[in-house]
């Protein structure tokens, strides 16, 4: 019953969305405002319908309604309620349903908030959103229908994939990823709207879009970090990034969106890079669809691959349409995009942004080529190859190091042109921090030149970004006698975008530091231990206490209790485990991590003896790993600060505009950057 109703709701949504898209575009062309209003209405209606279907699915999952195919596929009476609910996005069909729901939510918010804006930008953006929604609605009633009836009804199901119910982060990572991925549809819709409505030469679409882009970018950043964390905590190899196609798929749109966040400022401030920005925004969306296509179609070999099926062909058609349409549109309007500004000087913030864009897009292309090369090699040369981590590491390290350096240069330079004295005052002091960091790195044993450079530039950029805060606070403190915390709050509040950006920079630097330290100082050993025996890695000693077994409702668990010993005393214990699920003959490793601010001890149970007489345990020592997760949080904080445009209330506005002359501060008419 539930299944039929939900399926009907989805069928109706296909019709509603189709009607909305057609009426909307005809209405805009024919100047029929009432038709456009109906199109807006269909956006809301679609959201209601998809919400109904999603609610029905959650209800079916919770009530174990195995007459619905998706429930029969991922449900099980033994699975705890929490994992039952989150299995909504645990497999293909459910994740598409969730995707459609998120898209509906975003679209509704966008259309509602901008419905009164004059001009055709918003109507065309709505039509674009409806067309994308149409694709997912078609998937949901066709190849990815989660509500297929199952008859006869099974008494019980196999439960969700154990890997996905083994860790709490699985509840966090996929929704974040969808919120980030799907959110990129909104700026894309506005880019398309700008091209169709002829408003492409103005910067309005960028301004309207920015908060949505920031939201999506924040979610995507959080999702990437959460994904790394999940893979670290669950997969048992002690790493967090393997350049797997699935990881790359989430990273590529992030790179392009990050490039856009920077270059959009150049367009707003200097009237340059208009065509480039259009390309970046369209590219971000194409990459999200490409990423979904690559990971859902089974076209590439990945440890995370979803099953292949007819859905891949739908995605192929969709991606072909999107790609051709986007290229045609952008190339078609490229004539209209006249650059109104020009580069005054190579020593300026826009130069730093230009280089930043160059490196970020080169980064993206490197990842893209590395990801697609296996397919290309097989097509052209008939050989089966994989592109190993060394390729990605070697090719991207120089780019990463350059970007870290630029992160310190960009914020320090003014728009337009910097004088020699300004350059000296702004660019030289951070080198002291760089020298300190490099010295520390060399002292503790880093020898790889890229690693040393990375540490140095993390120091450089951190110094430069913090210094911007310091300069601003000092100016307010001096000009208004504000206390330091008030000065900080008003400084950030007065220009959220800029100072939010610096917070995000600091977050990225923390992530970079964590990655550099954990990669260059990782130590690991594996040993078979009898109870009482110890293993020592990089000065850390752990003793096997016992090997034990335990039965839980939905699984059985084998564990090895390890005691971390310091000076003869037990300071911590960890019990890495293997979880056995009834429907899975392979156990799911469950590593245990003991974290401290200095780094992690990572325990993984590799093998055990059936009578408990010994166990093979791997111990990995990695410094500063928690800094990566913390840094991810700081990035998100930066995004949250930057989401909201400049406050309309003018609290003590003068200070921001006229601080010490050496600081580049925007004039009030020039917006928020």
């Amino acid at each position: 019953m539930t299944g039929l109703l939900a399926h009907d709701a989805l069928m109706v949504s296909v019709v509603v969305v189709l009607v909305g898209a057609v009426l909307g575009s005809l209405g805009i062309r024919g100047g029929r405002a009432d038709w456009v209003q109906i199109a807006f209405g269909t956006v809301y209606a679609n959201f209601v319908l998809v919400s109904l279907a999603t609610g029905a699915m959650i209800y079916a999952l919770v009530t174990h309604d195995f007459s619905i195919s998706y429930v029969a596929q991922v449900g099980s009476r033994e699975t705890p309620l929490f994992y039952t609910v989150i299995s909504l996005w645990g497999a293909l069909e459910g994740s598409i349903l969730f995707w459609a729901w998120v898209l509906g939510a975003y679209s509704t918010a966008v259309v509602w908030l901008n419905r009164k804006r004059a001009g055709n930008l918003v109507p065309w953006a709505s039509v674009t959103l409806l067309v994308v929604a149409l694709f997912f609605a078609i998937l949901l009633v066709g190849p990815a229908n989660p509500f297929k009836p199952v008859f006869p009804v099974p008494a019980d199901g196999p439960g969700p994939n154990p890997l996905l119910q083994n860790h709490i982060l699985m509840a966090v990572h996929p929704p974040l990823l969808y919120l980030g991925y799907v959110g990129m549809t909104v700026p894309f819709a506005f880019a398309v709207g700008a091209m169709f409505s002829g408003e492409v030469a103005s910067d309005d679409w960028i301004r309207i879009t920015r908060p949505y882009l920031m939201v999506a970018w924040g979610f995507l950043s959080a999702a990437i970090i959460a994904g790394m964390w999940w893979s670290y905590e669950v997969l048992g190899w002690g790493g967090y990034w393997a350049w797997d196609p699935v990881e790359n798929a989430s990273f590529m749109p992030w790179l392009v969106a990050t490039a856009f966040l920077h270059s959009a400022m150049v367009q707003e401030r200097r009237g340059m890079l208009k065509l480039w920005n259009l390309n970046l925004m369209v590219g971000t969306f194409v990459l999200t669809i490409l990423g979904t296509f690559l990971t859902r179609s089974g076209i590439l070999s990945s440890v995370h691959a979803f099953t292949e099926g007819p859905i891949g062909y739908y995605f192929l058609v969709f991606i072909a349409i999107v790609l051709v349409a986007a290229l045609v549109m952008v190339a078609g309007v490229s004539d209209k995009l006249h650059t109104t500004g020009h580069f005054d000087s190579p020593t300026s913030r826009e130069t730093a942004f230009l280089l930043n864009n160059l490196f970020l897009t080169a980064f993206m292309f490197t990842v893209l080529v590395g990801t697609l090369y296996p397919l290309l090699a097989e097509a052209l040369r008939g050989v089966k190859v994989s592109v190993g981590e060394p390729f990605f590491n070697k090719m991207t390290l120089p780019l990463i190091v350059s970007l870290l350096f630029l992160m310190g240069v960009g914020p320090a330079l003014p728009w337009g042109s910097a004088t020699k004295a300004e350059m000296k005052a702004k660019l030289l002091p951070p080198f002291s921090a760089a020298a300190v960091m490099a010295a520390i790195a060399l002292a503790v044993g880093a020898r790889n030149p890229y690693a040393v450079l990375a540490y140095a530039f993390v120091g450089y950029a951190a110094f430069a970004n913090l210094r911007e805060y310091w300069i601003g606070m000092k100016a307010r403190h001096a000009a208004h006698g504000e206390s330091w915390p008030v000065a900080l709050a008003r400084l950030v509040g007065g220009n959220r975008r800029r100072y939010g950006g610096y917070v995000a920079h600091l977050g990225v630097l923390l992530v970079a530091l964590g990655i550099a330290a954990s990669e260059s100082f990782r130590a690991e050993r594996e040993a078979t231990l009898a109870p009482g025996q110890t293993i020592t890695v990089a000065g850390h000693t752990a003793r096997l206490k016992e090997v034990w077994g335990r039965e839980e409702p939905q699984r059985a668990v084998i564990g090895a209790t390890m005691e971390v010993v310091q000076n003869g005393k037990v300071v911590a214990t960890a019990d890495p485990r293997m979880n056995f699920y009834p429907t899975q003959s392979a156990p799911v490793p469950t590593p245990q991590v003991i974290s401290s601010i200095g780094g992690d001890l990572y325990f993984n149970l590799m093998a055990f003896d059936q009578n408990g007489s010994h166990a093979t345990v791997k111990l990995i020592v990695q410094p500063l790993v928690p800094w990566i997760w913390f840094g991810g949080g700081v990035v998100v904080l930066g995004a949250i600060i930057g989401i909201f445009p400049k406050r309309r209330r003018r609290t003590a506005p003068a200070a921001v505009r006229h601080p010490v002359p050496a600081v580049a501060v925007p004039l009030p008419s020039e917006g928020e950057a």
Binding site: G90, H304, V383, K384, F391, V547, W548, Y581
Partner: protein, 147 residues
């Protein structure tokens, strides 16, 4: 030359350099996926280059020394067989007769030194693979009754 042409020239040079770097990087770091037959057919060219070797684990060939952590087995595609050595405990689902992919280098001594042993798993629910009966594996331990 006009300013515009200069810009185009610079862009072309940049893109070309970048492409050349990528191409060179790919050629040096690509890992070939081979079956034992293809690996053996490569002869001397097959030695000491990173390879992913895919095939079936020959039943009865698995030797696992839990003290030294040496794992030895043979991989076959029924035309040729390659001896594999790796260090570390095998994945729990590792079983004779199943398909595996090992990553590593084929050494002149005729042994494939594996750095990575992969048994495919997927993100979505997958039926159990042939292998241990979980019940039996933990039954004995549970009888011990600890915790």
């Amino acid at each position: 030359m006009s300013k515009r042409n200069w810009a185009i020239l610079v862009a072309v040079i940049l893109v070309a350099t970048f492409g050349w770097l990528l191409y060179g990087g790919l050629n040096k770091n690509v890992v070939f996926f081979l079956t034992p037959k293809e690996l053996v057919a490569k002869g001397a060219n097959g030695y000491d280059v990173p390879v992913r070797l895919g095939g079936m684990v020959v039943p009865g060939s698995v030797q696992w020394n839990e003290k030294t952590l040496d794992l030895r087995f043979r991989v076959t595609d029924d035309s040729d067989t390659v001896a594999v050595h790796s260090t570390g405990a095998p994945p729990q689902m590792f079983q004779p007769g199943m398909g595996v992919v090992v990553e590593g280098k084929y050494e002149r001594a005729g042994v494939f030194q594996a750095t990575n042993l992969m048994v495919k798993h997927s993100n979505e629910y997958h039926p159990p693979r042939p292998g241990e009966k979980p019940e039996e594996m933990y039954k004995t331990l549970m009888k011990g009754g600890a915790s």
